[in-house]
């Protein structure tokens, strides 16, 4: 079955979702309060597969913004520790994009290398990803600059809208299993290769025209620390930064987290939550904080994505060009502006 292409008409998708959700948790991009975000689907929700970008990336499904690690409590004078169970339910994230899937590969490098993050690994194991090619990329998209092809998403199942149909192509064993379980709703779409290729050509042609697609990353990557770190440009670039965490929390690759305790009535709930390098207590230790100014914190975000991460990961950048930060920064600052500012004069005075 692997390698084949299957089709479903758009108006039957709701039925497909019901079938998927009956067996497992199903995450879909859903509109609520004027914004589209991935959430666990329930019947009757306003599913928006046509919206290219969700406000927040889908990384929550694998690396939730908040999760309990264990709880301690005193019971009859004794201390009891209950470790949180690992994820045991299968789930599907339907409607990710090529950039989102590439973002997960970045998280994999962090959480699946030794020592493996068991919470993340369990979710990766049990989650199946269906990614849709971007029929209508947006102006803030620049995945192409990072070598990502919006027309052929990396996923367990890749999908393309073609006319009134959604075409699905399993690309992994997990994906094949998922498609097999849905045979009742799907029809084999023989000869759909041509339709997919046509859609791909259309997408690639649009991508070419996007303003940031040709962003050059020359001068970034491994070995650039010294030259970039002390550049006077940071002083100018960071100024309008509000020190909010928007860019880090909408980002599909930001992976920093904090571990904190929440006092319950007779114990402690130890949890981890996403952290943001924009925040004043980021990496605060008993001995103090090694970044005490907003300039340093601002610089950290871009240096991490464009220099330190590639240095430690065979040149892989930890930005996938999804452009969510471009869309949502309250001060209109973003990684594109940073990259361009440096390419203008190399960061030297």
């Amino acid at each position: 079955m692997m390698g084949g292409i299957y089709g479903i008409s758009k108006d039957r998708l709701e039925k497909l979702f019901s079938a998927l959700a009956a067996e497992r948790e199903l995450y879909l991009p859903v509109m609520s309060g004027g914004k589209v975000n991935f959430s666990v689907w329930e019947e009757g929700e306003d599913v928006r597969l046509d919206v290219t970008k969700t406000a927040k990336s889908p990384k929550d499904a694998f690396f939730p913004q908040f999760e309990t690690l264990y709880t301690c409590r005193t019971e009859e004078g004794k201390l009891k520790i209950d470790p949180e169970e690992l994820c045991r339910r299968e789930f599907v994230v339907f409607g990710m994009r090529a950039c989102d899937a590439a973002g997960l590969r970045v998280l994999d490098r962090v959480f699946l290398s030794e020592p493996v993050d068991t919470f993340y690994a369990a979710r990766r194991e049990l989650g199946t990803i269906v990614s849709i090619a971007c029929g209508e990329p947006e102006e803030s998209c620049f995945c192409r600059a990072f070598g990502i092809d919006a027309a052929s998403p990396d996923a367990d199942v890749a999908a393309w809208f073609s006319g009134e149909r959604l075409l699905l192509k399993p690309q992994t064993e997990k994906g094949t299993r998922l498609i097999s379980s849905l045979s009742e709703y799907l029809t084999e779409a023989d000869g759909a290769e041509a339709a997919i290729e046509e859609e791909q050509a259309k997408i690639r042609a649009i991508t070419e025209k996007l303003p940031y697609s040709l962003l050059s990353l020359e001068g970034w990557g491994s070995g650039e620390t010294k030259r970039k770190f002390d550049s006077p440009l940071w002083e100018k670039l960071y100024r309008p930064c509000l020190a909010c965490g928007t860019c880090t929390f909408v980002c599909p690759t930001c992976q920093c987290y904090d571990i904190k305790d929440y006092k319950t009535k007779n114990g402690v709930q130890r949890y981890r939550c996403w952290d943001s390098c924009m925040y004043s207590d980021f990496t605060l230790m008993a001995g103090g904080n090694n970044r005490t100014t907003q300039l340093q914190r601002f610089r950290q975000r871009f240096m991490h994505k464009l220099v330190y991460f590639p240095e430690n990961n065979e040149g892989t950048f930890s930005c996938v060009g999804c452009g969510r930060c471009v869309d949502s920064c309250p001060s209109s600052l973003n990684i594109v502006k940073v990259i361009k500012a440096f390419s203008k004069d190399g960061g030297d005075e």
Partner: protein, 324 residues
């Protein structure tokens, strides 16, 4: 804009000010960023158009610590925030040269996107001194257009008026863009049953990602260290530990800025999840008006706020709960 730019250049070159706080042209015609300009040469990147919605008054706290005077561009609604900051001793009036800039309503790129316009390459018709009522939008999917008013920030539909409350000089004309009632959304909430109202806020706040953008942009949130940034406080700065938490942050914030909030609308403008945060504040403003008489925070830099003042005619707590 040319007149404004020319004047700013003069102020810099004749030494009246050491720097200018305005907006720098972005990568596109819809992403200018707040910026300080130290010389006439740097001002070549200066821009002032429909997308310059950011309220710069809070950045004047930082400017007060810099040497010399700063010229700041304030829109009529921003001047309320600046007055309030004077009242709270956060800014230095002596070190400020206020240019009251004209405003005909500011634009919201999200409003344009909500009209289904994607792949935006450039937008024209955004000039502050123009009177065209249409925006022409070039996109990768062809040319589009929309009405200027349909792309305005929500706050501009309940504009505070075209009068600058404090300034050294005014450049450009302002227009009152009001076409709705400022308290109608609050009245809708008041008409709800408590459970329904609670459900409304629960649903809206459930989207909160704790990015703190609303707090950080808020001119009334000028504490040097916020209680939510304290490590000794059980309620963390960056996580909603339980469903109550996400409400607590916003409710505490709304109480803290009550009587000081000028309804500048920055909180709702910056929220990446489109949460109508201004509704909390506007409810407080409406209540203060009801119980203490009409009061506008930031109208001037001297008047005492009813909540920090006392007189024997003040409402009693019982009057409030029974809705006198």
């Amino acid at each position: 804009m040319q007149e404004l730019k020319k004047r700013l250049c003069e102020l810099l070159s004749d030494g009246t000010v050491a720097r200018v706080l305005g907006w720098r042209r972005g990568e596109t015609s819809f992403d200018p960023e707040p910026a300080f300009f130290g010389s006439a040469e740097e001002l070549s990147d200066f821009v002032y158009d429909g997308f310059c919605g950011a309220n710069l008054s809070k950045m004047m706290i930082e400017a007060a610590r810099l040497e010399g005077k700063t010229a700041v561009c304030l829109k009529p609604c921003d001047t309320y925030s600046y007055n309030q900051l004077i009242k709270e001793h956060r800014v230095d009036r002596e070190k400020t040269y206020i240019i009251g800039v004209g405003c005909r309503g500011k634009l919201d790129i999200d409003k344009i996107r909500a009209l289904g316009i994607k792949g935006i390459l450039s937008i024209s018709g955004t000039e502050c001194d123009g009177d065209g009522d249409t925006l022409l939008i070039k996109t990768v999917y062809g040319d589009k257009s929309c009405k200027y008013a349909d792309a305005m920030l929500s706050r501009c539909h309940v504009c505070r008026g075209k009068e600058h409350k404090i300034y050294d000089e005014i450049i450009g004309e302002s227009r009152d863009t009001t076409d709705g009632d400022r308290f109608s959304e609050v009245e809708k909430l008041e008409a709800m049953a408590p459970r329904e109202r609670f459900e409304f806020f629960r649903r809206e706040l459930s989207r909160c990602i704790r990015c703190n953008a609303c707090r950080n942009v808020c001119p009334a949130c000028s504490c040097r260290k916020c209680v939510f940034d304290s490590n000794n406080f059980d309620s963390a700065q960056k996580a909603n530990v339980d469903p109550f938490e996400e409400k607590m942050f916003h409710i505490i914030r709304a109480f803290h800025v009550a009587g000081r909030c000028t309804d500048c609308g920055e909180c709702s403008r910056v929220c990446p999840e489109n949460i109508p945060l201004h509704l909390f504040n506007r409810k407080f403003i409406k209540d203060i008006n009801t119980f203490y008489g009409e009061y506008t925070a930031g109208e001037d830099a001297e008047a005492k706020c009813p909540l920090t003042d006392f007189d024997f005619g003040d409402a009693e707590p019982g009057d409030v709960t029974s809705g006198r």
